[in-house]
């Protein structure tokens, strides 16, 4: 391989370095500078064409991501709204308990319902107040709507409450309009009035309240209303069903009161 073959390369290197050395001393020369303008124009044209093609897709992607963001935001706001509703409702309930506290002389403590009771056969609930809060066995448990039950076990910081629908619950009551006295007993789902004579008139919708005669519950605490009253020919007493005012499946806050 002869060196003559590399002569053009050496010339190229020499010329290049000469040009670069000249420019580093005298400033940039641009003999092909006229190429710049048309190249820029073509570049701008290509850019505008590619932008025009890309733009709809870019907008679609932006809309897609914006939609996703709005959906997430919506979900978050709905959850927040639900939370606020719950807080407003709780606020209302607590306000009622507070009014009850101010009204009821025998008020002991306000409590939250923690859970259903441990006994799976009995209708009981657990509340978060106990002996340390002044709660004792046989104290009445009420809400602004009416009687809920009575404390059957008072622990240190929690208590078990027997609900008025339980078979083992009973209270001395009277029909508000007629002042008829009777014994209210739980039936498992609702309650019943015992010892209402066939001759004593009793109508559906009549309000039943505690009489206070048993010494267990304060007097005039609403219990429920008569949902059905039937006379059987074989019985001397009427068969009266009482539906509690307080929906016992929706208990959140209750008040414990003394006998």
């Amino acid at each position: 391989m002869s060196l003559r073959r590399f002569l053009p390369l050496f010339l190229l290197i020499l010329i290049s370095f000469t040009i670069m050395t000249y420019q580093s001393n005298k400033g940039i020369t641009a003999p092909l500078g006229f190429i710049g303008k048309p190249l820029d124009r073509v570049n701008a044209l290509v850019h505008s064409i590619s932008s025009a093609v890309r733009e709809p897709f870019r907008k679609m992607l932006i809309r897609e991501s914006e939609l996703r963001r709005l959906r997430e935001e919506n979900g978050r706001l709905l959850a927040l709204q639900e939370k606020y509703r719950e807080l407003v409702s709780e606020n209302e309930r607590l306000r009622e308990i507070l009014l009850l506290r101010e009204r009821e002389r025998r008020y002991v403590a306000a409590a939250r319902v923690v859970s259903k009771g441990w006994d799976r056969w009995a209708n009981t609930i657990i509340i978060d107040k106990g002996v340390r809060d002044g709660v004792a066995k046989d104290m009445a448990v009420i809400t602004p709507l009416g009687l809920v039950g009575k404390v059957v076990v008072a622990g240190d910081r929690s208590s078990q409450v027997l609900l008025i629908t339980d078979l083992n619950f009973s209270a001395s009551v009277k029909v508000q309009e007629t002042r008829q006295e009777a014994i209210y007993s739980g039936t498992g789902n609702d309650g019943s009035l015992k010892y209402i004579s066939r001759e004593d008139p009793i109508s559906e919708g009549s309000v039943v309240v505690t009489s206070g005669f048993d010494g267990l519950f304060p007097a005039e605490v609403p219990v429920g209303y008569v949902s059905r009253a039937t006379n059987r020919s074989s019985d001397i007493f009427q068969d009266v069903v009482v539906r509690p005012f307080q929906d016992l499946t929706r208990l959140d806050e209750v008040a414990v009161v003394k006998r």
Partner: protein, 150 residues
């Protein structure tokens, strides 16, 4: 006609390498054209074509005329050796040759700018760029054959 095609290809390469990139590094498409010309036209014509393309690139860049002129000219000249002048062409050789010439091109421009202008980038960045460009361009290696290659 061929000159017009080369001119169009060079402009397209310049426009395209402005628009595409991998990890922020554009390919050196003009180098691929110079390599093709070098391998097809031979040492002298390849060198002249490369020098011209390099000059266009320098002018478009707006810096001093010379770095790309020199680097592309050298590549155009040297590419002829990969076409059978020194080695027998194979696709693997083509891949290696394109990758090596890409690195050589980049290094030449870097050194020239370092000597006559300001360094275009830190050395660490230059190494990364050249390696990535070499890998990108190497993909064209098996497809750029000399005329007599099987």
């Amino acid at each position: 006609m061929k000159a017009a095609l080369v001119a169009i290809a060079t402009i397209l390469a310049l426009l395209l390498q402005n628009r595409i990139s991998i990890f922020g590094i554009p390919p050196a498409l003009t180098l691929v054209i110079v390599y093709l010309l070098g391998i097809r036209l031979g040492a002298l014509k390849g060198m002249l074509a490369g020098a011209l393309i390099g000059a266009v690139e320098d002018s478009a860049a707006g810096g001093i005329l010379g770095p790309a002129l020199l680097s592309k000219g050298v590549v155009g000249f040297s590419a002829s050796f990969a076409s059978g002048g020194l080695f027998r062409w194979t696709p693997v050789l083509g891949v290696i040759a394109v990758a090596l010439f890409t690195v050589l091109d980049g290094l030449t421009v870097f050194v020239a700018r370092f000597l006559y202008e300001t360094p275009p980038a830190p050395l660490s960045r230059v190494v990364v760029v050249l390696v990535v460009q070499g890998i990108m361009n190497a993909a064209a290696g098996p497809f750029i054959r000399p005329p007599h290659a099987e």
